[in-house]
Symmetry: C2
DNA sequence: TACGATGTTCGACGAACTACGAAATTGGCG
DNA sequence: CGCCAATTTCGTAGTTCGTCGAACATCGTA
C-alpha cells in the first residue's frame, strides 16, 4: 500500500460543548494520565515523548488518545512531533472550576509538585498552584 | 450451625485521610453511581432499594460497595435495611470543593434536578442546588 | 535512498469492570 | 415457625481497560 494514501486522520477533538463529564472523570482516574495533565498544566505545551512517565510509547500514545478524546487536551502536529496542551479555557467554560479543583485535590494526596514524576521538564519553578480553592 | 455465627463484616469505610482521589474519580465516572450520589446529595439518607436506577439489586449492591469503598458514601444498617448517606463533610475536608464542583458540572451536562431519574423518591422537596462553583 | 527519531496503529493478554440470576442472610410479621 | 421483604455474596458472561511488542508512517538529515 502506497505510503501517501494513508492521510493523517486530522486528530479529532470534541467541541467544547461536546466534552463529556464522565469521559473527563474517567480520563482523570488514571495515575499516568493525571501526571500528564499535571505536567501540562504547568507548561503551555509539550511533546509527547518528553513526559515523565515510564510506560511503553504505544501505551503513552493510548493515554494521549484517551485524554484528547475526552476533551482534556488538544494536540498539534509539528513535523514528526506532536505537541499536547491542556484545554484549560474550554474546560473552564464547560465545567467551571473542575480542573482546578481536581488538580488541587490531587496535590493534596501527595501528588504535589515534588511527587515522583516531578515536573523536571525545565522550569518547574512555580508550581502554579493558583488553584481556586472554594474553601 | 446457628445463623448468628456469621457476623456482619461491619461495613468497612475508609478514613477521611484515606480517601483516594482516583477511587473517587473512578466511582464518579459511572452514570449509575453519579445518579446515586446526586440523589444522596439532595437527601440526608436513603435506603438502597429506593434509588431511581434500573439495574438488578445485585448490581446496585455492587455500585454501593464501590461508592462506599471509595469514601463517597457511608452506610448504616437498620434492621434488614441499609441506609446510605453522602460523606459530604469528610469529602469537603479531604478534597475541598470537589464534590460541589463535580456535581455542578454534571448538572450542566443535562443531568440536572429533573433529568430522567428525577428524585421521585417522595420528598425531593428542596433540591438544595446550592452548587458552589469554586470559580 | 537509507537511516534514525518520533509517534501511531494493530493484535494480544491479563486484570478489572458492569451486569445478571441464584442462593444465602437477616429482620419483621402473621 | 413459616414466609416475605431487603440486601449481600457468589458465580458467571461479556466488555472495557491498561500494557506491551511489532510493524508502519512521517520528517529531517546524511
Amino acid at each position: 500500500m502506497p505510503r501517501s494514501t494513508r492521510r493523517r486522520p486530522a486528530l479529532a477533538h470534541p467541541a467544547t460543548e461536546e466534552i463529556d463529564l464522565f469521559d473527563v472523570l474517567h480520563a482523570l482516574s488514571d495515575p499516568t494520565r493525571m501526571t500528564i495533565v499535571r505536567v501540562l498544566r504547568a507548561e503551555p505545551e509539550r511533546a509527547c515523548g518528553t513526559f515523565p512517565v515510564d510506560v511503553a510509547p504505544s501505551t503513552l500514545s493510548h493515554h494521549f488518545k484517551v485524554l484528547r478524546e475526552s476533551g482534556l487536551i488538544s494536540q498539534r502536529e509539528e513535523a514528526n512531533r506532536r505537541f499536547s496542551a491542556l484545554r484549560t479555557v474550554d474546560l473552564e467554560q464547560r465545567f467551571p472550576g473542575l480542573l482546578d479543583t481536581v488538580l488541587a485535590a490531587h496535590g493534596r494526596t501527595g501528588g504535589g509538585p515534588g511527587c515522583r514524576d516531578g515536573e523536571d521538564g525545565g522550569r518547574g519553578g512555580g508550581p502554579g498552584m493558583r488553584g481556586g480553592e472554594a474553601g
